[in-house]
Amino acid sequence: MIYSRKILVAEDNTVLGDVIRFNLQRAGFDVTLARNGEAASQFLTEQSFDILVTDYEMPGLNGEELCEYARYRLQLDALQIVMCTAKGYELKREQLQARFNINNFMHKPFSIRDLVKLLASIEIRSAASVINPFQVT
């Protein structure tokens, strides 16, 4: 089955957000870019997504709080989460993974190609994707 994966990218770094969106769109994903945590939570409330790619440190609602909002407030159990972070060993990775069932972590600086490969390989559990028989992914 051929379909475009619906991805929400939450990234407060405008420059990085733009280039991620550019590359993901080129790879055939249906990308929505949120410039901060609040905007991302709004998108999650209003729309359905297969994957959430979120930065950890964001002003206002940070990545952890956004995951909490998605998992516990909106009960989005099927949503796959990829967390991008510039934090190193100080990130309590195991705790976050256990609490929010995070699919994967990308540590900055990361390769855009690796991110694309990862997002293409994630098993989709939600029904958010629109089946597009004409698009080759």
Partner: protein, 300 residues
């Protein structure tokens, strides 16, 4: 051991025997004269007996007087024979001119001299030890680390001022005999108290760091328990060392925070540069304007 009361000195025996045998000689002499004279010259008997008797008594007296210093020496030695712990300082010199007395006096002088030196040495040693003990006590009391010495059951036997200060116990008299684990545990958070308890159950020297509160600024202690071995190689008393490492921990936390912030600040622009340069390198069909924009982003 000699029986002092029944013992007669050598000179007494000598003079006694002298007197006894002298008297026996006189009696024998008198009897002989009586027998030979057949009671004819009885008036001269008094003279014949009186003169030697007087001479004998005089000789005995002279012997006794001459040998008095020997008697003195003998009685002094006898005191030592009766009591080996008798003080040598009680021995007295003999006030006579005789080689034996001179030898005794010389020996006594040497013994007194030796004894005096021993006394001086002992007092000096005691003074030095006392000074050393005072220095150790001063050092112990003025250490910045809190030190407590406990018995095998963990009851406090001795401690210094810093120990009481760190535990906020100004009334130091109440600390003696208290259980150190209870005392320290009540000053730290619950999880730290558990660690102290498990540390105390181990028979090895251990060092742990415990927070007094969830907040680092409330205090962090480094607690060591040292188990010195006695002469049989068995652990007996335990020495507890309490050190306030709050400032050290705060400095470490600040350093870690700085490193984290610096790392984060470095990674963010690096992520941008890597993402844009990778896009430029891998995406072939970028327009000239897009390429220029990407280059500008990397440069900025």
């Amino acid at each position: 051991m000699f029986a002092a009361r029944r013992y007669r000195s050598y000179t007494q025996q000598l003079s006694g025997q002298h007197l006894f045998f002298g008297l026996a000689g006189i009696v024998y002499f008198g009897a002989s004269v009586l027998f030979l004279s057949r009671w004819e010259s009885i008036p001269s008997l008094g003279t014949a007996l009186g003169v030697p008797l007087g001479l004998l008594l005089l000789g005995s007296f002279a012997i006794k007087k001459t040998s008095r210093w020997l008697d003195n020496l003998e009685s002094q030695l006898l005191r030592f024979a009766e009591n080996p712990n008798h003080s040598v300082m009680d021995l007295r010199p003999l006030p006579v001119r005789h080689p034996l007395a001179a030898g005794w006096n010389y020996l006594l002088a040497r013994v007194h001299e030796h004894s005096a030196w021993n006394g001086v040495e002992r007092r000096l040693s005691e003074a030095v030890h006392s000074q050393q003990a005072k220095r150790w006590e001063t050092a112990f009391q003025n250490l910045t680390d809190g030190i407590a010495i406990c018995d095998a059951e963990g009851k406090i036997l001795q401690f210094n001022r810093s120990f009481a200060t760190l535990l906020h116990r100004p009334d130091t008299t109440t600390l003696l005999g208290m259980d150190i684990i209870d005392l320290v545990s009540e000053q730290v958070e619950e999880s730290a108290a558990q660690r102290i308890l498990s540390m105390a159950s181990n028979q090895v020297t251990q060092v742990i760091e415990v927070k007094r509160n969830a907040e680092l600024t409330q205090g962090v202690w480094r607690l060591s328990r040292i188990l010195p071995r006695n002469e049989n190689g068995d652990p007996s008393d335990s020495i507890w060392n309490l050190r306030d490492v709050t400032q050290l921990k705060l400095a470490e936390a600040a350093r870690e925070q700085f490193v984290m912030t610096a790392t984060h600040e470095l990674r963010t622009p690096l992520a941008n540069i890597q993402a844009y340069s990778e896009t430029l390198a891998t995406v072939g069909e970028l327009s000239a304007e897009q390429q220029q924009n990407f280059y500008n982003t990397i440069n900025n």
